[in-house]
C-alpha cells in the first residue's frame, strides 16, 4: 500500500533535507539572558530506507538537532535560521515554513521516540489508550479492526498483547521502551526519529530493542534517524553516522568507513576509547571538559581538547567538506591514526 503511493521520480530524492539549520535556546530570566547554540549551522540529508546514526558526547546538541527536525520545539528553543524539508512521496513538508501541515503528518508519516521515552506514557491510563490516542485516527479502521491490528503489531514485535491492559508503571523499563517503539511504528510511518532508545537499558534488552528497530525499518522500508552516544550501537545498526561536536556536525559518512578510517580526531577518539571485552590495555580519556555552548570556543570548537590542534584551528572554523565517502570539518582531516 505504501509502495504504491511512491511514484518513480521521487524514489531517488532524499526523504529529508536539512539546510543551514540553527536552533538556539534563548533564555531570559530576570535580566540574566543566555543563548545556548545547541544546533549551529547543520546541513544534512537522509535517504529513503536508511538508518542514520547521530553520535556525540552528552550535551553536544544531538537531542536538540533531532527535536528541531521533528518540529518538536518549545520555548526557550527557537529555530534561528535554516530549513527542514520532508518529502513523503505525495506530500512535501517544510517544517518551519508551514508548521500547520506538520500536525496532520505526525504519526502518519513521521513518528518520534523521545529521549527517556520510557517515561512518556501517561502514568494514569492503560497502555491501550495511548494507541487509541496516537494512532486510531490515522488508520481509518473500525475499533475492532484497529484493535486486532495493534495486537498483531505487538505480536510481531515480540510483545504480549496483554500489555495493552497494563499501566505503564507495571511494566519494566525495557518493556516500556519496546512499547514506545511499537507505538511509533504502528502507523507504518516513512520516517522514524529515535532519541537514545537504548540508553539505560541493560545489555540484553538493549540488543532486543536494536533488533526490533532494525526489523521494523527493514519491513517498512522507512528511514530512521537514530541518536546515541554509544558507538557500539551505531556500529550495530547505522548505515551512515554523523558525529556532532558542540552543536556542529563534524564528520559524516558510512558507518564502516567512519569506524575504519575516522577522518576527524574527535571521531577517532570516540572509536578508540571503547573498551573491548577481553582487552585490558589502558585506554586514554579525552582531556579537558565539554565546551560551553553559550560561549563556545573560537575557530574549531574542538581545538582546546584536540591533540592535533594548530594555530589555524583556534581562529578559523573548518567548513564541512565532502570527501570520497562522506563529509568532514577539520583542518587536519585524515591525519589521525586509529589506535
Amino acid at each position: 500500500m505504501l509502495a504504491a503511493t511512491i511514484d518513480a521520480p521521487t524514489r531517488t530524492r532524499p526523504v529529508l533535507e536539512v539546510e543551514n539549520l540553527k536552533a538556539y535556546y534563548q533564555m531570559n530570566y530576570f535580566g540574566v539572558s543566555r543563548e545556548v547554540r545547541a544546533v549551529d549551522d547543520v546541513t544534512l540529508t537522509i535517504n529513503r530506507n536508511e538508518i542514520y546514526g547521530i553520535a556525540g558526547e552528552s550535551s553536544s546538541g544531538k537531542s536538540t538537532l533531532i527535536k528541531t527536525i521533528a518540529g518538536a520545539i518549545t520555548p526557550p528553543l527557537r529555530v534561528v535560521s535554516g530549513s527542514v524539508k520532508f518529502d513523503f512521496g505525495g506530500s512535501q513538508l517544510d517544517v518551519y515554513a508551514r508548521p500547520k501541515a506538520m500536525k496532520a503528518a505526525r504519526w502518519r508519516h513521521l513518528s518520534y521516540i523521545m529521549q527517556g521515552s520510557m517515561n512518556v506514557l501517561n502514568p494514569v491510563r492503560k497502555v491501550r489508550h495511548a494507541f487509541d490516542d496516537f494512532a486510531f485516527r490515522h488508520m481509518g479502521l473500525s475499533p475492532a479492526q484497529f484493535r486486532s491490528r495493534v495486537e498483531g503489531h505487538l505480536k510481531r514485535l515480540g510483545l504480549d498483547p496483554r500489555v495493552l491492559e497494563s499501566y505503564p508503571h507495571q511494566l519494566s523499563g525495557g518493556m516500556r521502551q519496546r512499547l514506545t517503539i511499537a507505538l511509533a511504528t504502528v502507523c507504518e510511518p516513512e520516517f522514524i526519529i529515535a532519541d537514545e532508545p537504548t540508553t539505560a537499558l541493560d545489555v540484553l534488552v538493549q540488543q532486543d530493542v536494536l533488533a526490533l528497530i532494525k526489523d521494523v525499518q527493514q519491513r517498512l522500508g522507512s528511514s530512521v534517524v537514530f541518536v546515541t552516544h554509544d558507538m557500539t550501537v551505531h556500529a550495530a545498526i547505522a548505515d551512515r553516522i554523523g558525529i556532532v561536536y558542540a552543536g556542529r556536525l563534524v564528520e559524516e559518512g558510512p558507518t564502516d568507513d567512519a569506524f575504519a578510517r575516522p577522518q576527524h580526531p574527535y571521531t577517532a577518539h570516540l572509536i578508540s576509547s571503547l573498551p573491548r571485552l577481553g582487552d585490558v590495555s589502558r585506554r586514554k580519556a579525552l582531556p579537558g571538559k565539554p565546551p560551553n555552548l553559550s560561549d563556545p570556543p573560537s575557530g574549531c570548537r574542538f581545538h582546546p581538547r584536540c591533540p592535533l590542534a594548530i594555530d589555524r584551528c583556534k581562529v578559523e572554523n573548518p567548513p564541512l567538506v565532502s570527501r570520497a565517502t562522506g563529509r568532514v570539518a577539520c583542518w587536519r582531516a585524515g591525519e589521525v591514526e586509529v589506535a
Binding site: A70, A72, R106, M114, V120, P123, V124, F134
Partner: protein, 334 residues
C-alpha cells in the same frame, strides 16, 4: 501477616488515635468553657419574670441535678466516652431532655444536602476553570474568568452572601433569602417541595461556591502548569493528539488526583456545617446548631457536633488513603 493487612491495621489504629485525640481535645476545651448551661437556662427562665431570689436558688439546684453535671472531670470524661461508643451524646442541655443525637439528626440532612452539593460544585468548577486556565494560558475569556475568581477569593464569605442576599432578595427579588424550604410545606418527594428546596438552597450554595472556588482554582492552575511540561504531555502533543483529549486525559486527569484528597477532606468537614452561610441565610444546618450550642453552653451538643465532624473527617482521610490506589494506579500500599 501480609503487608496490606498490616498496613490496614496500622492505618486503622491511627484513625482511632486521631479520633480519640481530637475528641479528647474538644472535650477538654469544652469543659474549660466558662459558659454554665444551668445559668443559661436560669437566666432564660427568670429574665423577664418577677422571680424571687429564693426560688431562683432552688431552680438552680434542681437544674444542676437534672442536667447531671455533678461529678469530677474524670467521671464526666469517662461517661462521655461510654456514651460516644454507644453512639449517644446524652441529652441536650439547652433543649433538655431532647437527645443531642436527635437534634443532630434533624440538622444533618440539611447540611449534608447543601454542603455536599456546594462542595462538589465548587470543586468541579474550581478545578475545571483552574485546569483550563492552566492549560490554555493565553485564552482571554479564561484569563477574565480567572481574574474574577481570584478577585472573589479574598472576599469574606459573609460579604459575598450579604451582597447576594441584597441582589436576589431585594434589588431583584427572585429567590428566597431565608430558611430551608417554603413555609407550611412538609418534607415530601413532591415537585413543589423539591423545587422549594432548590430555590431556598440556591443563595447559600452560591455563596459557598463563590467563596470556595478560588482556592481550588489557584491550586489546580499551578498543578496543571507543572503537568503540561511533563514528558507524557509533551509527547502527546508531538503525537498530534487533539488538544481536548490532551487536556482531559493527560493534563486534567493527572492534576486531579491530589485534588481528590482535598475533596474528601472538604466532604468530611461538611459535618461541621458552614457556620457563616447558615447563619446568614438561616439555613437549619449543623453550623447553626453548633453556634446555638456554644452560645447556650450546651456542652453535650457542642461535643456531639464536633465529635461527628471529627469522626467524619478522620473517616474521609482514612477512606481516601485506602481507595487512593484505585484512582491512582501508581500508588501502592504497604
Amino acid at each position: 501477616m501480609d503487608g496490606f493487612a498490616k498496613y490496614l491495621v496500622r492505618r486503622f489504629f491511627q484513625f482511632i488515635l486521631v479520633v480519640f485525640l481530637g475528641v479528647s481535645l474538644t472535650f477538654l476545651i469544652t469543659n474549660l468553657s466558662p459558659v454554665d448551661p444551668v445559668e443559661q437556662t436560669v437566666s432564660l427562665m427568670t429574665n423577664f419574670g418577677a422571680t424571687d431570689p429564693r426560688s431562683v436558688e432552688l431552680m438552680r439546684e434542681a437544674l444542676a441535678e437534672l442536667y447531671g453535671l455533678q461529678g469530677s472531670f474524670l467521671d464526666q470524661y469517662l461517661s462521655f466516652w461510654g456514651r460516644v461508643v454507644r453512639g449517644d451524646f446524652g441529652p441536650s442541655l439547652s433543649s433538655f431532655p431532647t437527645p443531642v443525637m436527635s437534634l443532630i439528626m434533624g440538622a444533618l440532612p440539611w447540611t449534608i444536602g447543601l454542603l455536599t452539593l456546594a462542595v462538589v460544585i465548587t470543586w468541579i468548577l474550581g478545578n475545571l476553570l483552574g485546569a483550563l486556565a492552566g492549560y490554555f494560558r493565553s485564552n482571554l475569556m479564561l484569563k477574565l474568568a480567572g481574574a474574577t475568581v481570584m478577585a472573589l477569593h479574598p472576599v469574606p464569605a459573609y460579604i459575598l452572601g450579604l451582597v447576594l442576599l441584597l441582589i436576589f432578595g431585594y434589588a431583584w427579588p427572585v429567590l428566597p433569602i431565608s430558611g430551608g424550604a417554603q413555609m407550611n410545606l412538609q418534607p415530601s418527594l413532591t415537585f413543589d417541595y423539591i423545587r422549594s428546596l432548590i430555590l431556598h438552597g440556591t443563595l447559600p450554595a452560591m455563596t459557598l461556591v463563590l467563596a470556595g472556588i478560588g482556592g481550588w482554582f489557584i491550586s489546580m492552575r499551578s498543578l496543571v502548569s507543572n503537568i503540561v511540561t511533563d514528558d507524557h504531555v509533551v509527547y502527546a502533543e508531538l503525537g498530534g493528539v487533539s488538544s481536548s483529549k490532551i487536556f482531559s486525559q493527560y493534563v486534567a486527569r493527572n492534576a486531579l488526583l491530589p485534588q481528590v484528597t482535598g475533596l474528601a477532606l472538604s466532604l468530611g468537614s461538611v459535618f461541621g456545617g458552614a457556620v457563616i452561610t447558615e447563619f446568614l441565610f438561616n439555613y437549619p444546618g449543623m453550623g447553626r446548631l453548633l453556634v446555638q450550642g456554644i452560645y447556650r453552653g450546651d456542652y453535650s451538643l457542642v461535643l456531639g457536633v464536633t465529635t461527628m465532624s471529627i469522626i467524619a473527617v478522620a473517616i474521609a482521610v482514612f477512606v481516601i488513603d485506602l481507595i487512593y490506589p484505585l484512582i491512582d494506579p501508581r500508588v501502592r500500599l504497604g
